[in-house]
């Protein structure tokens, strides 16, 4: 259905809109929620299109119709008359519009209910805490040794309903992964949640959807929908502490990161670095992006980011640290080992 839905949606509104990559698009069928959105969207689109065409038809007819010699206009002194047919037409139009809207309201209500019900059965629970301008991710588990902290990246097993608990540390943000589900705000002092049941393995991009200050545009997160096996593999790997530095260069980096500025804000499991101000770095190098989707992960970007974050993401809380060249090499070398 939803593939046709998408096709229909596109055909109806924007021909050829689908010819590009969709990892941050509502034209998707990667989750139960977005599929329901697409079905409902097309229903609305069709009915609205019909109403629109009716209006335009009436407009055109009114402009081009050939008129009786005596029209109900001031020049013919009949401007207080009016065509009796129009009165019935008015009532008819009112009824049509009314029923159409009632129908849409009901459709919307049903979709809303069914989404709420889908939300009921939750298997995996994640706590997402928004900060200016990054996402703090915590996988909850009854067994505290199994709860794991990461940042700016979600891994979800396909087909498993997941409940994401949404908090904020500072201002209002909004969690939005268009290809999977609608948005939900993260509000300081309140707790919201959103349920997603991904149905398609793939990589999707989400982005903060509520204006949250200077770097609102650079507050993205990546969602990996994996097979259950791959998810468990990832999970177990993430639970590991960071590997000890192998090379002397990496060791130098390790000493700087754990002994100097970095550790004031960042935590790396298995090392003295335990700051909670910034994202957890334990498996930094295994992530796809740096600085909440500001740039793809890679040696070059790591160099750039560590050397001068403030010109790459002005206003971000990550300060520009005056690193000597050898320190910079060492730090990047160590961060790269955090696979």
């Amino acid at each position: 259905m939803s593939r046709r839905t998408r096709a229909a949606a596109v055909a109806l509104l924007f021909t050829g809109a689908c010819s590009i990559q969709h990892y941050q698009s509502t034209f998707s069928d990667a989750a139960v929620e977005v599929r329901q959105f697409n079905i409902l969207f097309v229903i609305f689109l069709v009915i609205c299109a019909i109403m629109y065409l009716a209006v335009i038809a009436f407009l055109v007819a009114g402009l081009v119709r050939r008129r009786r010699r005596l029209a109900n206009v001031m020049e013919d002194g009949r401007h207080h008359e009016s065509d009796p047919l129009l009165r019935t037409a008015l009532i008819g139009w009112g009824v049509v519009v009314g029923t159409g809207l009632v129908g849409l309201a009901i459709a919307s209500f049903i979709a809303d209910r069914s989404m709420a019900n889908a939300a009921a059965s939750e298997k995996l629970s994640i706590t997402l805490t928004a900060n200016q301008w990054w996402w703090d991710v915590r996988y909850n588990s009854a067994d505290s040794s199994k709860t794991l902290r990461t940042a700016n990246e979600l891994h979800l097993p396909v087909g498993v309903p997941v409940r994401i608990i949404l908090n904020s540390n500072d201002v209002i943000h909004s969690f939005w992964v268009p290809s999977l589900a609608g948005k939900q705000d993260l509000i300081p002092g309140r707790q919201n949640d959103i349920s997603i049941t991904p149905t398609k393995i793939g990589i999707y991009r989400g982005q903060c959807a509520e204006y949250c200050g200077a770097q609102h545009a650079h507050m993205a997160l990546v969602v990996n929908v994996d097979s259950y096996a791959d998810f468990l593999k990832w999970w177990r790997h993430q639970l590991q502490p960071a590997p000890p530095p192998a090379t002397p260069l990496a060791l130098a980096g390790y000493n700087f990161v754990t002994g100097r500025n970095c550790s004031a804000c960042h935590a790396i499991a298995g090392t003295p670095a335990s700051g909670t101000v910034g994202p957890d770095l334990t498996h930094l190098a295994s992530r796809r992006t740096i600085a909440a989707g500001t740039m793809p992960m890679g040696k070059g970007n790591l160099y750039g980011w560590v050397a001068d974050p403030q010109s790459l993401k002005p206003g971000s809380k990550m300060p520009t640290i005056a690193l000597e060249p050898d320190e910079l090499h060492a730090v990047v070398a160590y961060l790269e080992t955090l696979k």
Partner: protein
């Protein structure tokens, strides 16, 4: 800076507002050039309580002492670096009170910055290794604001947190004792 601002305000209001606007609201997100450091004029061993030093005020102080974004970033660091742990919200506890008028190691912005960077006897750790100079200056600016030093229109009335102190916009400016004359 702030005194110059006031003077010029008397002379030429508009120009002054412009000046104020530029300096008080500008976010210096781009950090200072490499190599610049916090003043190290007084290292812990040469400092003893009540000492006054007649050095001129560090020029960089003017970048921070009446700059609203700098103060709020200082506030962010003050809570997130857990200064609250010892100094509470300025009232003091394990550490000295920061909102009163007494400054053992000088209440001037560069002196506070030095205290944060170098640490002080009886438990104040040195932050030079953990924070950048820019951060230290901002933190110092915030600490200085706890006793109402900066002009009222650059400070935050309150944080979005449990209210511990009366609004900074209403705290009276404490005189600065056992500091030096360069205080404005």
């Amino acid at each position: 800076m702030s005194s110059r601002f006031r003077a010029s305000l008397l002379i030429l209001g508009v120009a002054a507002t412009a000046l104020a606007a530029c300096n008080r609201e500008e976010r210096h997100s781009r950090a200072k050039p490499i190599g610049e450091t916090v003043p190290t004029g007084q290292s812990p061993d040469t400092i003893f309580p009540g000492s006054t030093t007649a050095q001129p005020l560090d020029a960089r102080a003017s970048l921070y002492d009446n700059n609203a974004p700098a103060l709020s970033e200082g506030q962010f660091l003050y809570t997130r670096m857990n200064c609250v742990g010892c100094h509470s919200h300025g009232g003091g506890g394990m550490g000295v009170a920061l909102m009163d008028d007494e400054w053992r190691y000088g209440g001037r912005l560069d002196q506070i910055a030095a205290s944060i960077a170098e640490g002080r006897p009886n438990g104040m750790p040195a932050w030079r290794a953990k924070l950048t100079d820019d951060q230290i200056w901002k933190l110092a600016a915030y600490v200085r604001s706890l006793s109402g030093q900066p002009s009222k229109d650059v400070v935050n009335s309150r944080a979005d947190a449990m209210s511990a102190t009366s609004p900074a916009t209403l705290t009276p400016r404490e005189p600065v004792r056992s500091s030096d004359s360069a205080q404005q």
